[in-house]
């Protein structure tokens, strides 16, 4: 306690220099918490959105299906296992049939993925009920990004060309009966959603699908020729991508932290050089050299406590804003390639705050201790005269 008290007095007595260091360090505190908070928020949102829009409670993939290889689409189009027939009727399993096609918006040619889904499905947030609309053309729904890219709007009619299971080209008009906004690019970019039975009929693939989406109420069962992919497995890549982006982002706060640490290191080094008499006097008054080292280390470490207090004062309203209002990015979600909302909300967990505080405390203590080590080698009689270094 006495150590903290004497160190605190010395620190406060240093005046403006102390407050400048405290301010810079408080920026590091706030920056780390906000940036990590945004990334945690992004990670949470990406996972939740992917689950709501794309994954549900996991998916069965036909064993040959590879989402990154369009050549597997044909070979992975197989009959839906009989074991799921009742579940499909009860919407506990939603089959998705995937094939390739070409659309001709305004005479331009654009490759698309055609995905067939039951219009009355209840597992994903995609507004597929629009697919129940009776039209002369084939009804389709698409994401807002896709619509904007292809310059399409609701009720537009355009030509779709595809190949059936025999490899024969077919073409028909489609009508856009719904445009939805989503943060999940896999649902939106280059994708048209059609009624499952229509797509099965169009491609001569009656009763076929490539993937089966599972409801949380349905137990995982082992089915020959189908691999079950859990939610964790399916969001793994997204989370990895967020993590990769977080490494790039961390460069900013590492720079801030380095600046703060450099300022503290410089201040400590200069302080020990200039305050030799003080050090000698402390020893003469009854402190051991180890105690003086601890005093100076504590003095440096107290920057972190002051920065925490100061950072809380100006950072708390910012944290509140980031958590409640979020930050709006000018980048389109799909341009980023991973689920990302227009507005990103920070998730500031107690773990993040405690972790950041501990991390900065440890780094500050180490940076304060390094110059203070010199004191242990000082001759007190020389230090009293200011000639020990």
């Amino acid at each position: 306690m006495k150590l903290i008290k004497t160190a605190f007095r010395s620190l406060i007595g240093n005046g403006l220099k102390t407050w400048l260091n405290v301010f810079v360090l408080s920026i590091s505190f706030v920056m780390i918490i906000i940036m990590q908070g945004i990334l945690q928020g992004w990670s949470k949102q990406a996972t939740e959105d992917a689950v709501r829009w794309e994954i549900a409670d996991g998916q069965y993939w036909q064993e040959k299906y590879d989402p990154h290889d369009p050549f597997t689409l044909d070979s992975s189009t197989v009959q839906i296992p009989e074991v799921f027939a009742t579940d499909i009727k009860n919407h506990l399993i939603e089959p998705i049939l995937i094939t390739q096609g070409t659309i001709y918006p305004d005479g331009r040619m654009q490759g698309v993925l055609l995905k067939g889904i039951q219009p009355n499905q209840q597992l994903l947030e995609i507004p597929t009920d629009s697919l129940n609309k009776v039209t002369d053309e084939i009804p389709v729904v698409m994401g807002a990004y896709m619509a904007r890219q292809a310059k399409l709007k609701l009720n537009d009619v355009l030509t779709l060309r595809w190949r059936d299971s025999n490899g024969t080209f077919e073409a028909a008009d489609i009508r856009i009966v719904g445009i939805f906004k989503t943060t999940v690019p896999a649902i939106d970019v280059g994708t048209l959603w059609l009624p499952l039975d229509r797509l099965q009929a169009m491609t001569l693939n009656e009763g076929c699908a490539n993937i089966l989406i599972k409801s949380p109420e349905k137990e995982v069962v082992s089915v020959s020729g189908w691999d079950f992919k859990s939610t964790e497995k399916l969001t793994e890549a997204t989370l990895l991508m967020v993590k990769t982006k977080s490494i790039g982002t961390s460069v900013f706060y590492v720079i801030f932290l380095l600046l703060a640490m450099l300022a503290i290191f410089d201040t400590q080094t200069l302080s020990i050089f200039r305050r030799q008499k003080e050090i000698g006097t402390m020893i003469a008054l009854g402190m051991t050299r180890k105690q003086v080292v601890r005093h100076f280390t504590m003095e440096g470490s107290l920057y972190a406590i002051l920065a925490l207090a100061f950072g809380t004062v100006w950072g708390a309203p910012l944290f509140y804003f980031m958590v409640e209002r979020g930050i709006t990015f000018p980048v389109e979600a799909a341009d980023f390639g991973i689920p990302m909302g227009d507005t990103m909300y920070a998730v500031i967990s107690p773990g993040l705050v405690i972790g950041t505080v501990l991390f900065i405390f440890i780094v500050t203590a180490v940076v304060s201790y390094l110059p203070a080590k010199k004191i242990a080698k000082m001759n007190p009689t020389e230090a009293i005269r200011g000639k020990a270094l």
Binding site: G13, N14, E278, T281, I283, G286, M287, T288, T381
Partner: protein
């Protein structure tokens, strides 16, 4: 009279280049309780070195120095710090006040090391500042004080823990004549009223005129030891 410092055949060498310089040669002395004594001699005579060894800030190269029944050369750094913390007070030529602390905090510092309660500390500090006449400067910082006032703060800091022995190294060297006399009168008063022993290292005639015992050093040796008055009882 109880002996509080016993210096026996003390020699102190300092390494210089490949050899060494002998600052004290076979010095033997005793200081009794309540002394107001001075180590007098020119620069380089070994006054400060002797004072530092008595103050357990340095150790003998040879011989023995026993301070309050503790042999300085045999103390661990922790024991030496304890001796200084509990029994010794220091007054330096350039005051050596902690610049960022107020007068009150400077005087309070040794009591913080003794783990006294805040109430006890306050009482002790104010009483000590009263002795040196600085109760109106408690919130001032050293930079706001005159040299004489700084030295009085240093005296208060040395006296606040009621040490058995105060070691003063050239305490008047940076003071004018009037302030020097004020300081010396204050210390003499404390010596007489509190029976605290004072040992000075000085070559200032003003200080010498107040001493009750003068020990003259030359080239690291005691050349004269003159008792002018009996120590305070």
């Amino acid at each position: 009279m109880k002996t509080i410092v016993d210096v026996k055949n003390l020699t102190k060498n300092f390494p210089v280049g490949t050899g060494f310089f002998t600052a004290l040669k076979d010095v033997s002395l005793q200081f009794a309780e309540g002394e107001f004594a001075g180590l007098v001699g020119p620069s380089g005579s070994g006054k400060t070195t002797l004072l530092n060894i008595i103050g357990s800030l340095d150790v003998p190269s040879d011989g023995e120095v026993v301070v309050l029944q503790r042999s300085v050369g045999k103390l661990t750094p922790k024991e030496a710090a304890k001796l200084r913390k509990e029994e010794l007070g220091f007054i330096f030529q350039s005051y050596n006040l902690l610049p960022v602390y107020t007068v009150f905090e400077n005087v309070e510092f040794p009591l913080l090391l003794l783990n006294m309660t805040a109430e006890e500390r306050k009482e002790r500090v104010m009483e000590t500042l009263k002795w040196v006449g600085l109760t109106d400067k408690v919130k001032s910082r050293p930079a706001q004080l005159s040299g004489g006032e700084c030295q009085r703060v240093a005296i208060a800091r040395a006296m606040v823990k009621r040490p058995s022995l105060v070691l003063a190294d050239e305490p008047t060297a940076n003071l004018d004549s009037k302030n020097s006399h004020n300081i010396l009168q204050t210390m003499l008063k404390l010596n007489e009223e509190l029976k605290t022993s004072f040992v000075f290292a000085t070559h200032d005639e003003k200080v010498i005129s107040y001493l009750k015992r003068i020990i003259r050093l030359e080239d690291g040796k005691v050349v004269a030891d003159e008792l002018i008055a009996e120590p305070s009882k």
